[in-house]
Symmetry: D2
Subunit: 253 residues, 4 copies
């Protein structure tokens, strides 16, 4: 695969990373000199280049994780470790109809839209109009908008949808959405919700029990990155110690 | 969605779970009486039923996670928390060409095959012939074999493939596969590997550095399940304290 | 140091451990034959011996952690990882006056009594009379009762003590003890409390804030044991995933 | 207890903490105005005062943990969570003879010296002369030097001591000290060692096995601090994700 005029590339320069669009004739300015886009065109992804000041960099195709980490945003972007748990516990797969509430900047929306594909559908809600606009822009860039319908709205008031396979929540009060959303779900739909506090988890689980959900699970994942050196390997000293909890469940008749 | 003759269902009975195929007229025997399959047919998934001895159970469509947890197996099945990290860090998406080595019983193969879809392809290798047979059977049941090619073989001796987007390893000596596989990969391919010991991680990371891989990451995820009760919420007391580490990287020219 | 008639010894036999008292002429029966006590007398601690059936064992002086793990008990014994945090965060040191409530079987009491020494004092309370009896017996065996005063009582009703340097709680409702105990404490006394649920932590921290405590800290410690083998080192697969949380604070005028 | 001329106090001012010595007539300058020492004298510890610019602060007796966190230092100070594990696993108690190697700035030395008391003894070694000087100064301030003997020296070359109850190591190569130190230990002495990398742990454990140590344990403790707010409690977002591992064992004849 070669880099072309218009390609998105992930630039690894020193310990920084950028996602940029290669445009013939343009320059991209960095903390270590500028990148001459023309120089990259026609070369394979994964090649090494030099900035104007002689610093070496690599150009790769951005992964979805790279794109998402660079999304324009209003709020905290969900971490990959949490996104991937929600995708798997929520059984997100090709052809599914997913209702997502609290799209924020569209990070989770992007992951879901990519997996459900053209036979699937994502209905994304957020109470904040700017969030919906940002999500739209972020997904447009990734060509992931064709199977996504975005709407300003508060799902705790119910939504006009049916046959939803999986409902995905990133809301301050997910427990308030449990009952109102029940009627738009398939009879054994998946429910996944992300919350930073344990109090939200408790309320959500109790609301799910009351609404006859089964297989209710609540968990957190702690990701520990390692510094690997020959004969001196150890977890990193500082890092993220908490993001949030996932609640997962199955609807019942 | 209604349960039909031939449907797979996930049965939740007490604290046990089974995945069974509903066959008109058949009985499924459990520790709490038998389940009369005919009784389920025509009812919606997510309904409650009773066993012959009056114990209540729920019947759901099995998620891929449910299927995988019930896979016939020769070896330890990869945990969902690790599978989902590998899928996301490996940028597994529709249309990709994936090389997986150490398919074991096909758990990771199933997740990958489902996501890459009919435009993608999974090449699965294992040195053990029985593993390949088991994987085949497990994937067949899930209709996930059409885009999967399985082969008995040792990838540390190289493989005859090209343009692989992501290589996924669950091998005792992943570091020995780094160099031999490089030439079958795209120039900026994704590499993800799973290993139980930190020594394997160290060797793999060093082999990747030597083979000019970049963006090398090594991490573990610790999943903590919670017991949620009104006003008495806490992590579970006993559980799995370690599964393994993930190494992720990008190929370079 | 040699083993004597009357010495306590920690026996390591296979993967089992026992704390026994060596009595001249007595036999101690195990799952792998009996131990002839007389055989040990006069030999150094740390020596190897054989049971009647030829199984090898080692005899060591029991550490306080060994004793405590073998305590007669009515309730769960506090784990060493939590005990040591409470001792250090509570600034337990020689000469201190400590009020402990919820002595249970006396595990924490033993640790505290040993450190505060003969110039210090531990006042131990439990609402359960049997707990107090068990604690008494456990501490007697260790000669740790001389600076300990044990009493059946509910400290949430207040206690008749003064100048307490550190209050140590292992109660179902520690928040109810915050106010009643304030007047028996030194003006800047240490407060440490252990609770299994996060709801207890929240209530205790809020009660401490209301009672003008400062430097309030809430934390848990997760202990991960490792299996160390040459070139194959990793955390253990299964284990304890949660014990409880520690709340620590300082009194204020 | 009242603050006196010459008292050490822990000042809590905003989110900062200082340990200062109160000297009649002196002023202590902070980021929020100065503290007039005279104003504190005669008032109880745990009282609130105001700086020259009207900011409120509390004055407490420093705990040993507070002192240690403010120690003059050449190297990283051991964290309380690790110090307390080593004290408990090493069975440090009144009257013991302890050999500590790699005293650094004396943090662990202080904890040990306080517990072993006047009937015990700490022999502290460090290869670095400045470390020994700093440790001396740090312990002097705490009146903890009377039972401590400090010496510049490399314990992997052996030491001229006997009847050591517990050996405590914080060395880059603890495994090299295992054999040379064996002859200065009691026959069933305790061994505890702290190391940041897993490679050090592996080598130390294997050296201990070779030297006939028993009850060998290797572990890490992960401390998670919580943000507690009414109905919004959660672990802190950022923090320390790794300090090091503890290896613990018992000597044998």
């Amino acid at each position: 695969m070669t880099i072309q005029d218009g390609s998105d590339v992930l630039i690894l320069l020193g310990d920084k990373q950028f996602v940029i669009k290669i445009v013939e004739g343009q320059k991209f300015h960095t903390h270590k000199g500028y990148i001459d886009c023309s120089q990259l065109i026609g070369k394979p992804f994964g090649s090494y280049f030099k900035t104007s000041t002689g610093h070496s960099f690599v150009a790769l195709r951005p992964s979805l994780r790279d794109y998402v980490s660079k999304f324009a945003r209003r709020t905290q972007i969900i971490y990959p470790k949490d996104a991937c748990s929600m995708l798997l516990w929520g059984d997100i797969k090709p052809g599914q109809r997913v209702l997502e509430a609290g799209t924020g900047s569209g990070a989770l929306t992007a992951y879901i839209a990519q997996i459900v594909g053209k036979d699937g559908k994502v209905y994304g809600y957020d109470v904040n109009e700017d969030s919906i606009k940002i999500t739209k822009k972020n997904l447009e860039r990734l060509n992931l908008l064709s199977n996504v319908e975005l709407k300003v709205g508060d799902v705790t008031q119910g939504v006009d949808l049916d046959n939803i396979d999986t409902v995905v929540l990133d809301l301050p009060t997910p427990w308030l959405a449990v009952k109102p959303l029940k009627k738009c779900l398939t009879t054994d739909a998946h429910f996944v919700s992300f919350s930073p506090t344990i109090n939200q988890v408790e309320k959500t689980v109790l609301a799910l029990k009351e609404a006859n959900y089964v297989r209710i699970e609540a968990f957190e994942t702690i990701l520990r990155e390692f510094d690997v050196k020959p004969d001196a390997t150890r977890p990193k000293t500082l890092g993220i110690t908490h993001t949030g909890y996932v609640v997962s469940a199955r609807n019942c008749v």
